[in-house]
């Protein structure tokens, strides 16, 4: 159990200010162990995406967000630091929920971050980098003959893997994935899951997911948020088989029933559960 901690939060609170104040996260302490895949689960609007985005200061680009508390990468604060935000975001990569190709060729999408940071010696060096990261996400064979075509021409599943390659190419320490399979058809989702599976021994991955099944299949650790508060975090096996808190028990049970009910309703649930990008509304009625 003595696992190195790559990333942890310290009393992290996020409030959306605006017409009305919404406390999306209320003082969360959570640890993300190194070279493990941690899944963040919880009902819609519980602050999953908010937590994820505050882990690499993506809230900086919005004006109506207050972040307090701290996030520590390898023991050092990413908020109270001289290190510029772009460098922090290079070390803590982020893949958004919607497959988002940059308006560039397939090649340039992977090379984008590498070129910005100047982390290559020559053109052939860059070519090798691009190839190796495309291989890493199992995309190389599918695109090797059309590297110069616009990335937008790929299927959404391929684009999502391309996004993973783009993020990995700048050699982050941590990779944040926001429901990366929720916009995909089942087969593409499976490919992306396989990719994550193969990456998780090498990278610290934090993944938001709405699917209990996915968490169970992929994750080493599970973090359960409810209404902006941490309910429980544990390794996947203990979390599902021996939940410590009543709320976790009912959430796990509720979802298990829903998920054995039939796959089609589950698909719809997935749609309904995707979070609004900037102002999560507490789900409680």
């Amino acid at each position: 159990m003595s696992q190195q901690i790559a990333l942890r939060t310290d009393d992290l609170a996020v409030t959306y200010t605006g017409n009305r104040n919404v406390e999306a996260l209320k003082g969360v302490d959570v640890e993300f162990p190194e070279n493990r895949l941690t899944a963040i689960i919880g009902p819609s609007g519980c602050g999953k995406s908010t937590l994820l985005k505050s882990l690499n200061r993506l809230h900086d680009i919005q004006s109506n967000v207050d972040v307090s508390g701290d996030v520590l990468l390898e023991g050092r604060s990413i908020y109270d630091t001289d290190e510029p935000a772009p460098e922090i975001r290079r070390r803590i990569g982020y893949v958004p929920q919607t497959p988002t190709p940059l308006p560039l060729s397939i090649y340039e999408n992977v090379a984008y971050g590498v070129k910005i940071h100047g982390d290559y010696e020559s053109k052939s060096d860059l070519d090798d980098l691009v190839e190796s990261y495309l291989r890493k996400v199992n995309l190389w064979e599918e695109v090797r003959d059309r590297l110069e075509t616009p990335a937008a021409e790929l299927s959404t599943g391929q684009i999502q893997r391309l996004c993973l390659a783009r993020s990995l190419a700048v050699e982050p320490d941590v990779l944040l994935c926001d429901e990366v399979t929720s916009a995909l058809d089942p087969i593409s989702a499976e490919r992306v899951e396989e990719t994550l599976e193969s990456l998780k021994t090498e990278y610290t991955i934090v993944m938001v997911t709405h699917s209990m099944d996915q968490a169970r299949r992929l994750a080493d650790e599970v973090v359960f948020l409810y209404l902006g508060e941490l309910v429980e975090s544990n390794d996947t096996r203990s979390f599902f088989e021996n939940p410590q808190r009543e709320r976790t028990r009912s959430f796990v049970r509720g979802h298990t029933i829903a998920e054995t009910d039939g796959d089609e309703t589950n698909e719809n649930d997935a749609e309904a559960e995707s979070e609004p990008a900037d102002e999560p509304v507490p789900a409680e009625r």
Partner: protein, 313 residues
């Protein structure tokens, strides 16, 4: 008894259905008619212009008219070149001055300005866009013309009264820039936040994100904003008429007075429309304007569609 009530209900319902379907069908005719009306109007205008241009084209060589610098309707000299050159100068110069500023301001409003400041800046841009262009002409007569005539032109060694191509271009740039800004802001703000997050998420700075990702993704929209601005400058009438000096000659410098195609029509149509061949010449100028502007809009649409299909934003 009950049955007859029920059948009465059914009759009423089917009557009603019949009427509803009739209204439905008629309204589709109406609406289609309204749509075709727009097309018909355009065709009518073009046909009129063509028809009324024919007398001129029958009598004089088109190539000769387009390349001759001699415009003197009273002597039956119809050289369009000075007005064509003037129009191109004005359009090119105002776009050169207006486009970079428009794009910079649009980037500021869409990506940098926050909160109240953003609201204030963008509402001022909208107010500017709503000012009738004749007001710009008036203010320019009081401010820009003396400035150009007394300071700017002498500073670069040109003698000028202040009226002329440069002044018109400057003022037209000011007139169309707010439009280009509004349209460009719209296309930047329409981009999904995921695009920004994807770029920032690999460690790009804000400026790098804007330069290599956002401007490219919003490119089709910004491009069409610029072309629409171009079309407006091309067809602008009142500002050039007030400020260009109204002399139909080949401009020998940027500060020279001159003529554009619209001002050629405006300055001559009062007295000379009574002479049939001159009338025909001015109408031909109008035809050229319509064709060129139409080409630009059409080209803009094609390029925009191509770019959009390529990047899918």
């Amino acid at each position: 008894m009950e049955e007859s009530i029920e059948s009465g209900d059914a009759d009423r319902r089917s009557d009603r259905l019949g009427r509803r379907l009739l209204v439905e069908r008629l309204s589709s005719y109406w609406l289609r008619g309204a749509g075709y009306f727009a097309i018909g109007l355009f065709c009518l205008i073009v046909l009129t212009l063509v028809h009324r241009s024919l007398p001129l084209l029958a009598e004089y060589s088109l190539v000769q008219m387009l390349t001759s610098a001699n415009w003197d309707p009273s002597q039956n000299q119809f050289g369009f070149l000075p007005a064509i050159v003037g129009t191109i100068y004005v359009a090119a110069l105002s776009m050169l001055m207006g486009t970079p500023i428009a794009i910079l301001v649009a980037i500021y409003i869409a990506e940098y300005a926050e909160g109240r400041l953003k609201v204030i800046v963008s509402s001022f841009i909208d107010v500017l866009a709503a000012i009738p262009s004749v007001i710009f002409g008036l203010v320019a007569l009081l401010v820009v013309v003396p400035f150009v005539g007394n300071y700017l032109a002498p500073a670069v060694g040109a003698s000028a009264t202040g009226l002329g191509i440069f002044t018109v271009s400057l003022v037209m740039a000011i007139v169309v820039t707010p439009f280009m800004i509004s349209l460009s802001v719209e296309s930047l703000e329409a981009l999904p936040d995921e695009l920004r997050e994807s770029s920032l998420g690999v460690g790009a700075t804000k400026l790098e994100t804007i330069r290599s990702v956002l401007l490219r993704a919003a490119g089709p929209g910004i491009f069409s904003a610029v072309l629409l601005g171009f079309g407006r400058v091309f067809g602008a009438t009142i500002v050039p008429a007030m400020l260009i000096g109204g002399q139909t000659q080949m401009p020998d410098s940027l500060f020279a007075t001159g003529q554009t195609l619209p001002t050629l029509i405006v300055s001559d149509f009062g007295e000379l429309m009574s002479i049939p061949i001159t009338q025909s010449a001015l109408i031909f100028v109008g035809l050229m304007l319509v064709v060129v502007v139409w080409f630009f809009n059409f080209g803009a649409m094609l390029v925009q569609r191509r770019l959009r299909r390529r990047w899918q934003y």
